[in-house]
């Protein structure tokens, strides 16, 4: 047994790792090897010194010392949980990027649909200009309005195609208001052209200008697209089916979205002609203002339910290319703003179906669902209104306003008292 091997035995002996026989041979060696014996002594001494090192303890309780930090962690964790909950409850506010993206997507769809609608309108106009001449003016007008929405969205689409999709979403957000003024000018122009007998895009533009007044109640306007019972829409639907055929847009692309919306544009196209013939320059101005309200209202809507008009989508692909020639899609910003009209979806019906709440132009309005009467209108909020939620008994409506710096104000509306309180 070499001294090297003995060294390991000595070490293991210190750790109590030697069996009897090994201990025996270790002892045997150290008895005859003074060097190893001395080493063994030193190691044993070292080991016992190490064993006897003071069992130091902290001068104060470490747990007490870290208690504040532990509580902080606890708070942060609960805050995190709360935040998670909040995210669930207030998706629109918490996830602006997502929303924007969806916006964009919807946008292009809607825009495409608008393009199609415009194409169809033009086609119909050309074909039926004389025969269709005068229809029920009211109906024509309301339809026109819807149509105009789509027509405008077509413009948006066009520009969207030109620029990147993401930009579209933003532009739509921002451009809505400026676009209004521009649009009105366009409408004027359109009106002039149509009067010249040019049956092309201008006509639809004119129709757009006229439309708002036909819509009497904003509520109706908002619903028109989605509400199948609305006489106007009913009227529209057959026609809606027709135009796509002629345009051979029968693509199966359509996602499961409500059909009514798409139908209206097409109807609008038809009636657009009618309204066109009826329209007088003077009515233009009066309508514009109303139009503004409509625009804003509708602009908000996409954020909510966003029923995507399916038919227009289908046709959109084809007609998208036509747009430039038609000359409808003029200035991008303009079309953005207008395009936002296209998605009527920010209306929220109360659980009992008695009321409709809508966001318009940073105000919240509540309408009687049956009569369309305006029951409540909030003051104009200093920020984007989101998150309309009805209480279960339909007596209260809550909503949030995103003011500057992402701060959120929450309001409650008591429908019976027609009053709102800020929370």
């Amino acid at each position: 047994m070499t001294c090297q091997e003995v060294m390991e035995y000595m070490q293991r002996q210190l750790d109590g790792d030697l069996d009897e026989r090994e201990t025996e041979s270790l002892m045997d060696h150290t008895r005859h090897c003074p060097d190893c014996a001395a080493m063994f002594e030193r190691l044993k001494r070292l080991s016992s010194e190490l064993d006897n090192l003071p069992k130091v303890a902290p001068g104060y309780s470490l747990v007490d010392a870290i208690m504040p930090r532990l509580e902080q962690i606890e708070l942060m964790q609960s805050a995190q949980t709360a935040a998670d909950d909040a995210i669930v409850n207030t998706v629109p506010r918490r996830t602006p990027p997502v929303r924007q993206q969806r916006w964009t997507e919807r946008f292009s769809f809607r825009a495409l649909s608008g393009v199609i609608a415009a194409g169809v309108v033009i086609g119909l106009f050309i074909v039926t200009f004389d025969s269709q001449g005068m229809r029920n003016a009211d109906e024509a007008n309301s339809n026109t309005m819807l149509f105009s929405a789509n027509y405008n969205s077509s413009g948006a689409d066009h520009s969207a195609a030109a620029s990147s999709g993401a930009e579209t979403g933003n532009a739509a957000d921002n451009g809505a208001i400026e676009s209004l003024s521009e649009r009105s000018s366009v409408n004027d122009q359109a009106g002039n052209e149509s009067r010249d007998g040019t049956p092309e895009p201008p006509v639809s533009g004119d129709a757009a200008a006229v439309s708002p007044d036909s819509n009497g109640e904003p509520d109706q306007a908002g619903n028109a697209a989605a509400d199948a019972n609305d006489p106007v829409v009913k009227d529209v639907q057959p026609e809606a089916a027709a135009p796509p055929k002629s345009n051979q847009p029968a693509r199966p692309s359509a996602p499961a979205s409500p059909a009514p919306a798409p139908s209206s544009p097409q109807e609008g196209q038809k009636d657009g002609e009618a309204s066109d013939s009826v329209t007088e320059p003077t009515s233009d101005n009066t309508n514009k203002t109303r139009n503004t309200n409509e625009t804003n209202k509708l602009e908000k809507q996409p954020e909510r339910e966003a029923p995507i008009p399916d038919k227009p989508e289908m046709a959109a692909d084809e007609s998208a290319q036509e747009v430039p020639e038609m000359g409808i899609a003029s200035e991008p910003e303009q079309s953005f703003g207008i395009a936002s009209i296209a998605g009527p979806d920010s209306e929220v019906m109360s659980p009992d179906g008695a009321y409709n709440a809508a966001i318009m132009n940073n105000t919240v309005k509540v309408f009687d669902a049956a009569t369309g009467a305006l029951l409540f209108e909030s003051r104009n909020k200093d920020g984007e209104v989101v998150n309309l939620v009805w209480s279960e008994d339909s007596r209260f409506l809550s909503y949030e306003v995103i003011v500057q710096d992402e701060a959120v104000e929450r309001y409650f509306v008591d429908i019976n008292r027609a009053a709102e309180t800020k929370q």
Binding site: L46, S61, A65, L70
Partner: protein, 182 residues
């Protein structure tokens, strides 16, 4: 030895149990940190950090490992990280301290190794050998428990421990000789 029931309660979200648990282990945690870092303040910091980490990670402890080795793994990891960060600045101070220490030793003419000498000697060991020695002597860990704590193979633990003791022994012998000669 920490009661398994307490650990389970702490894991299931019983905050009081978790605090009690931390109180039970805080001295063990501190002791390891103190002997690895050889500095009271650093040891306080490291031990607190380890306790906080245990507090937040208690859910990730699995019973297949021993709780005490899980705890020691956390604290040694923190200490070794700290040690690596401090090393460049420490080395200069260390030399001065050693020098002073020798003077003291000479004055006192000790018959046995002073605890301080041993601490100084431990401080000269490479980080892993140091951790092995600390766990072996301050926590009374077996080879296997050390291996679990440090995530090292058993043979590596043994060879670190043996080499560490040999080196300590020779360092201390030098100190003592110096003292005797002085």
């Amino acid at each position: 030895m920490v009661e398994p029931g307490l650990i389970r309660a702490a894991q299931s979200g019983d905050r009081d149990a978790l605090i009690t648990l931390l109180r039970e282990i805080e001295n063990h945690v501190y002791r390891t940190a103190y002997y690895i870092l050889n500095n009271e303040q650093d040891a306080m910091d490291a031990a607190q950090e380890a306790l906080i980490r245990i507090y937040t990670k208690i859910g990730s402890y699995e019973e297949k490992a021993m709780f005490k080795t899980w705890v020691q793994r956390i604290v040694t990891n923190i200490c070794i990280d700290k040690f690596r960060r401090n090393k460049p600045t420490v080395s200069i101070d260390e030399h001065e301290m050693v020098f002073k220490e020798k003077q003291n030793v000479e004055d006192e003419v000790l018959s046995s190794y002073a605890a301080k000498d041993i601490r100084e000697a431990i401080d000269k060991l490479p980080e892993h050998q140091r951790a092995v020695v600390v766990l072996r002597y301050m926590q009374d860990f077996s080879y296997n428990e050390i291996a679990d704590s440090l995530d090292l193979p058993l043979n590596t633990v043994k060879s670190y421990l043996f080499r560490a003791r040999q080196q300590l022994q020779s360092l201390l012998q030098d100190y003592q000789k110096g003292g005797v000669r002085g």
